[in-house]
């Protein structure tokens, strides 16, 4: 099953490679991994999307907790949570496609953030599924380039992850 795991870790060089190394050394899946410093600059917040049986996920959280640089770990999928991903996508936009492309961006609440006479660059946020849906909705060959950040997650309501 797909799980989204959030962690706080010491904002130190090397902390990221400890987490990445753990996943590769133990053969765990990583679908995506995002990381950036938090409002407390001594800490980074990481979101990992992974998948595995319950036993594997239990081991993943235990192994993450064991890393000396990791301060806190939560499996967001255990409760209500929100996740978002950002995508920048450059699409073909010439001739009759140009209007159509703008309409598609509007429908998915995307924003056109760069324009040439042949292309648009669209910024889109949402769940991974929504971004997938957008890409699926485009015609074959319409996408020139796409870059996605991977999911960031946060608990709903009063669920707070902090030290």
């Amino acid at each position: 099953m797909r799980h989204i795991i959030s962690l706080l870790l010491e904002n130190e060089s090397g902390a990221l490679s400890r987490v990445a190394g753990l996943f590769s050394a133990r053969g765990y899946n990583i679908e995506s991994l995002t990381v950036a410093p938090t409002e407390d600059e001594t800490l980074s917040r990481m979101t990992i999307v992974t998948s595995g049986s319950d036993d594997v996920i239990e081991q993943i959280t235990k192994q993450l907790n064991k890393l000396v640089d990791v301060v806190k770990v939560v499996d967001l999928s255990e409760g209500e949570h929100i996740e978002r991903e950002l995508m920048l996508v450059k699409v073909r936009a010439s001739g009759k496609d140009r209007e159509e492309m703008k309409r598609m961006a509007d429908i998915f609440r995307g924003r056109i953030i760069d324009v040439t006479d042949k292309s648009y660059t669209i910024e889109l946020t949402g769940t991974g599924q929504k971004l997938d849906a957008f890409l699926d909705a485009l015609e074959e060959g319409a996408v020139l380039e796409a870059v996605r950040t991977g999911a960031s997650g946060i608990g709903r309501g009063d669920r707070i992850l902090r030290v």
């Binding site: 239990e58 064991k66 000396v68 990791v70």
Partner: protein, 565 residues
């Protein structure tokens, strides 16, 4: 007063109470060596290969519980240390390894003798640090010792660039450490302990399986008390030998791939299993599918939550320090009124005695050729069962584990998790430094001993009177055994040709060598060796080439599917 990084490094070690530093010099650590030269609080042991520095420090730690400490130079010094570090990591041994590094401004430039020591060691350390500012140096070394020795112990690497050893700052050695991200649990959850006791006291066919955690956690006395008060059978893993006394009638012998018939059968057929500081290794339970064919409830005490339910699903997990948890269990049993189920226990022991009667460790005692098992039995007799025994890896290791009956912890030093050939002699060196008055025997094979043979020179320099028992079968016996059983007797590259004359070899290093070829000469040779109190004696026993280790659970088979003699 401001000190240099090199002075600070050495002061930290002295203030931490480090007795011995095992090392080998080189460019990146020359300033540190210069400071070592000027003081006498920390004694440096100069080995002949960095791998042996780490093994010797590791052996010291295994023998006396204090962390082993190592200093090596950058590049090849650090890479030579890696096998030693991984060996310590797999067996959870507390160590601090200081590696020299090229100056900070040269890092990443492919500088002379530069390797990414942090990157290379990351997967085989508990933690590692690169020191980037001399102001962080003392606090980092303190943290390294704290992390290495608390919770589940392990090796910690501190990588120190050369310019940091020359930079100056005020020296203060921190008295304590607190890390928000690292807080090992000590006390077991009392509700879980109560649940565990309920299961144990109701068990019909209970079994206690104790591992290296009992040795690491100094909990042999607590374990022994609990086992005796319950009257249950107890087995030890290879890493747990001595955690429960081998001479106790409740002792079942070692379990696992080369465990006794009775221990493996009881493990497979018990209805309640108490696992204490043991990690259900694949060499212990065999094929997990087969293990699960029998229905049993499992209680598991371990300080590392990730050891619990890693390979087998556990019913009652207890995260905590073994010493603490076992003592609490005994307290609750004493305070309660419930006693173990005596009639059930009686019939369980009747069954166990039937398994024991199989006499699974029997071998031909009338042989004209030396049987390796007999050498170990004689070693046990001559030393009164009270030597520190180190071993290398192979058949000789298994015979030492089966036939030297350890009654105390920290008397058996070997590489279990990584199975590193070459540890035996350096472990013996470390053990002798930790316990200069205890006889130390190194049981080895003609292949393993050659992996760190150069340390005979270190032994000469520091007058380390190790007694080496080389079980010389002219084969990588363990490899040969697998080839005999599973590869149609095709002995590919497992024959040891062109062996040195070990007697002359020992003599050339300034030691005593004895060659023993007849069973009747075993005991006199061992007696003579131990009588030579201050000399290293190399005993080269010419043993039966075809002997195999029994019982054996073949890889992929279940615990009760043993090959027996």
């Amino acid at each position: 007063m401001e000190l240099t990084g090199a002075e600070i490094t050495v002061r930290c070690l002295a203030d931490e109470g480090v007795e011995y530093l095992f090392g080998y010099p080189g460019g990146a650590v020359l300033h540190i060596y210069d400071e070592l030269f000027k003081q006498d609080r920390v004694k440096h042991i100069l080995v002949r290969h960095e791998q042996a520095a780490v093994h010797a420090a590791d052996g010291y730690a295994r023998a006396c519980q204090k962390p082993g400490v190592v200093l090596v130079t950058s590049g090849p010094g650090a890479t030579n240390a890696v096998t030693g570090i991984a060996t310590a990591y797999m067996d959870s041994i507390p160590m601090v390894i200081l590696t020299g590094q090229v100056p900070t401004h040269a890092i990443g430039q492919d500088a002379f003798q530069e390797v990414d020591s942090i990157g290379i060691t990351r997967p085989c350390v508990k933690h590692n640090f690169l020191v980037k500012d001399v102001h962080d140096l003392a606090a980092t070394i303190k943290k390294a010792f704290y992390i290495a020795t608390t919770g589940r112990p392990g090796p910690v690497v501190v990588d120190i660039p050369k310019d940091i050893t020359m930079a100056r700052c005020e020296y203060v050695y921190p008295t304590s450490v607190s890390l928000r991200s690292y807080n090992p649990v000590v006390k077991g959850h009392s509700g879980q302990i109560r649940k565990a006791l309920n299961l144990l006291l109701e068990a019909k066919r209970p079994m206690i399986y104790a591992g290296g955690g009992v040795v690491l956690g100094e909990a042999a006395a607590e374990l022994t008390q609990l086992v005796r008060s319950l009257g249950f059978p107890c087995t030890n893993t290879l890493m747990g030998l001595g955690g429960f006394p081998a001479s106790d009638p409740q002792y079942m012998g070692m379990l696992g791939m080369h465990g006794t018939y009775e221990a493996n059968m009881a493990m497979q057929h018990c209805d309640v299993l108490l696992a204490v500081g043991a990690r259900f290794d694949d060499r212990v339970i065999g094929n997990p599918k087969h293990f699960f064919q029998e229905d049993r409830r499992i209680i598991h005490i371990d300080v590392d939550p990730s050891s619990i339910s890693k390979r087998v699903k556990v019913d009652v997990p207890i995260v905590g320090d073994v010493k603490d948890v076992l003592a609490e269990m005994s307290r609750q049993i004493a305070a309660g009124t419930q006693k173990p189920d005596a009639p059930a226990l009686k019939s369980w022991w009747t069954q166990i005695e039937l398994w024991r009667a199989r006499d699974c460790l029997k071998y031909d005692r009338t042989s004209e050729i030396i049987k390796p098992q007999m050498v170990i039995e004689k070693l046990w007799e001559v030393t009164g069962g009270d030597a520190i025994v180190t071993s290398d890896v192979g058949q000789h290791q298994m015979w030492a584990a089966q036939f030297y009956r350890f009654d105390k912890p920290r008397r058996w030093l070997n590489s279990g998790g990584l199975g590193t050939m070459g540890v035996g002699l350096p472990y013996a060196m470390g053990a002798l430094l930790a316990h200069p008055d205890t006889p130390v025997a190194c049981v080895t094979g003609e292949a393993s001993i050659q992996m760190c043979i150069q340390e005979l020179s270190t032994c000469k320099q520091y007058r380390m009177p190790v007694k080496i028992l080389n079980l010389n079968n002219r084969y990588m016996g363990m490899v040969r055994q697998w080839q005999e059983f599973f590869h149609g007797n095709r002995y590919a590259e497992s024959y040891m040709d062109a062996l040195p004359d070990f007697v002359k070899l020992a003599e050339s290093y300034g030691h005593v060598g004895i060659r023993i070829e007849k069973p009747a000469d075993i005991e006199p040779a061992i007696r003579e060796a131990f009588a030579r109190k201050n000399e290293l004696v190399f005993m080269d026993f010419i043993t039966d080439q075809t002997e195999n280790v029994f019982p054996m659970v073949p890889g992929g088979k279940g615990l009760s599917e043993m090959i027996l003699v």
